[in-house]
Symmetry: C2
Subunit: 327 residues, 2 copies
DNA sequence: TTGAAAGCGGTACCAA
DNA sequence: TTGGTACCGCTTTCAA
């Protein structure tokens, strides 16, 4: 790595002081036109590029947020990321994206690195709060889709009980009684969405006993529904943990020759754009995903500025039923 | 914004010098256990967080790449971004993602900001090379999917002539003669993909005279095919600029009651994952999108280190026909 | 209009 | 094991 060209080098070859170089480069007034030109020429010739560290050190204005997500290829996280990016840009902030590939190991590595690279971090974490707290060494953090205890943390909650209830109501109203679920278990425990589902079922006197487990991918959904239907061919409807899994389920239904929605109704969760490109278009308990990202940025901003936090009810994104064609 | 807590504050409250604080925080040896603990306590209490700028200034090791894409919600760019992120992580580099929303204005703003935030920039740019050159003020840049003249730039080329030729051969072999195209024009000029298509058509003595123009979105594809078929209902196959548009075309065909592939064959370009979730699965001239991103990072690294560039033939990503169900 | 000097917040190297 | 000092590269006073 050849030595860095500094402002001093430019100053020397242009025959001026470094302050003058700084003036020329930053378009400040108070500089002679020809001097400025001379400096600019010298800078170009030497291939000078100011150090962003030195600059940042002096004018501590730029804010950089780390966005941690498990999988950029999962459209849900992409939509959240897009929302975060947009909100950050509106404030002139930067976003460094970290993809943890859904692995705890990568997540640890990411956190280690994040600490020295950004001003605050937002995103989806899987590690225990105690571990996060220990390694984040005081950095403001906003957890998405997950509760927090430590006061230093903040979280954006996704409230889907009412939406899932709507979905089950809708299915029951359409005559469905045997409704299964494709869940996504974390740490071998049923998800919170599963409990929303179970509650909604009980309200109709039904039991949520037909549950399959899927990994978070389209293929995962295909596989899970295939398995579930093998065990419970009597199901007439399924609720999936999210749209990605539901889209996989749609594919499985097609392969198994079960027409959707007539022979099997499918409901997803998230309300992604993805649900509109499949056939039939996916009915889903929909979320404003962009808002999730935007809220996280907003909240990170408050943490950073030590401003009062948003009240809990503002840190909530509600999901509502969006009926399309798959039910 | 309350004043920043610096290493001096910690040193003062812990009653030691800042060098000692530095030692304690960086787990250097040569420090008494109790002193270290005292420093750590003080740091925690004050909520001290080291300035990444000051750190970066002194040990100038971290490399940050700016990734500029027009639309993070477009799965093609997401796949490229994922490839870039992965390649960057493997080197311990960071990636700041910029979404220009496909607007020249945003692109200008992005470039302005990028210059002082990253060490090199890679991505999709729309602005003229002269303008890029002027505002990038010497920063190494890798253009994706676009030729370059200025030697300081580098580019990752996408070579699809052979793949498109394969696609047209395949369609013709299946009896298609009236094949249309849904193009994506830039600056009101047919794309390079259109010319590949036209060449492939001529090779069979056919003319590429049924061309529609689409915006880069699923909806754009739907609209464009609807229009095109209104003008040219006799078409039996269409080749789309990319998979996103092709997926929209699939939807249009469905709405118009034209069965795919029997009454209309559809071929996309890019070979995205997206093509496997639709029904029928999309035949596409496929690209290794992750590799596109990875190559861009690799090349940026060489530019940065002033190492010899990769030879042009390595900076090429070839597309090949991937037959699925839509043809 | 220009330059000298003083930091910005850290780390490295030395001496104590 | 500690602290003093120089310095990273740049911008911001303040004089000249």
């Amino acid at each position: 790595m050849s030595k860095r060209v500094t402002i001093n080098d430019v100053a020397r070859t242009a025959g001026v002081s470094r302050q003058t170089v700084s003036r020329a480069l930053n378009d400040k007034g108070e500089i002679d036109g020809s001097t400025k030109q001379r400096v600019l020429d010298a800078a170009r010739e030497l291939g000078y590029r100011p150090s962003r560290f030195a600059r940042g050190l002096v004018r501590q204005d730029t804010t950089t947020i780390g966005l941690v997500i498990p999988d950029l290829l999962n459209p849900f996280f992409t939509e959240v990321a897009a929302g975060a990016l947009e909100a950050a840009r509106a404030r002139g902030w930067h976003v460094i994206v970290y993809d943890t590939a859904g692995s705890d190991e990568e997540e640890r590595g990411t956190i280690e690195v994040v600490v020295s690279q950004v001003d605050a971090v937002v995103g989806y974490f899987n590690l225990a709060e105690s571990e996060l707290d220990a390694h984040l060494s005081g950095m403001p953090a906003v957890l998405i889709g997950r509760e927090h205890q430590t006061p230093r943390f903040s979280s954006i909650r996704i409230e889907g009980a009412a939406g899932v209830r709507e979905a089950v109501d809708h299915l029951v109203a359409n005559g469905h009684r045997r409704i299964g679920m494709l869940d996504y278990e974390e740490r071998s425990r049923p998800s919170i969405r599963h409990s929303w589902f179970a509650d909604a079922m009980s309200a109709h006197g039904l039991v949520a006993d037909a549950v399959g487990n899927a990994v978070q991918s389209v293929d995962g959904g295909t596989e899970a529904l295939t398995d579930l239907l093998a065990r419970r061919p009597d199901l007439t409807a399924v609720f999936a943990f999210n749209d990605v899994i539901a889209v996989g389920a749609l594919r499985a239904a097609r392969r198994l020759g079960r027409a959707v929605p007539d022979e099997l109704a499918v409901v997803g969760f998230d309300g992604l754009q993805l649900g509109t490109v499949v056939d039939p278009a996916l009915t889903s308990v929909a979320l404003d995903t962009r808002r999730v990202g935007a809220l996280a940025i907003e909240q990170a901003g408050r943490l950073l500025a030590r401003e009062p936090q948003l009240p809990p009810e503002e840190l909530l994104v509600n999901a509502v039923l969006l009926v399309r064609e798959s039910t």
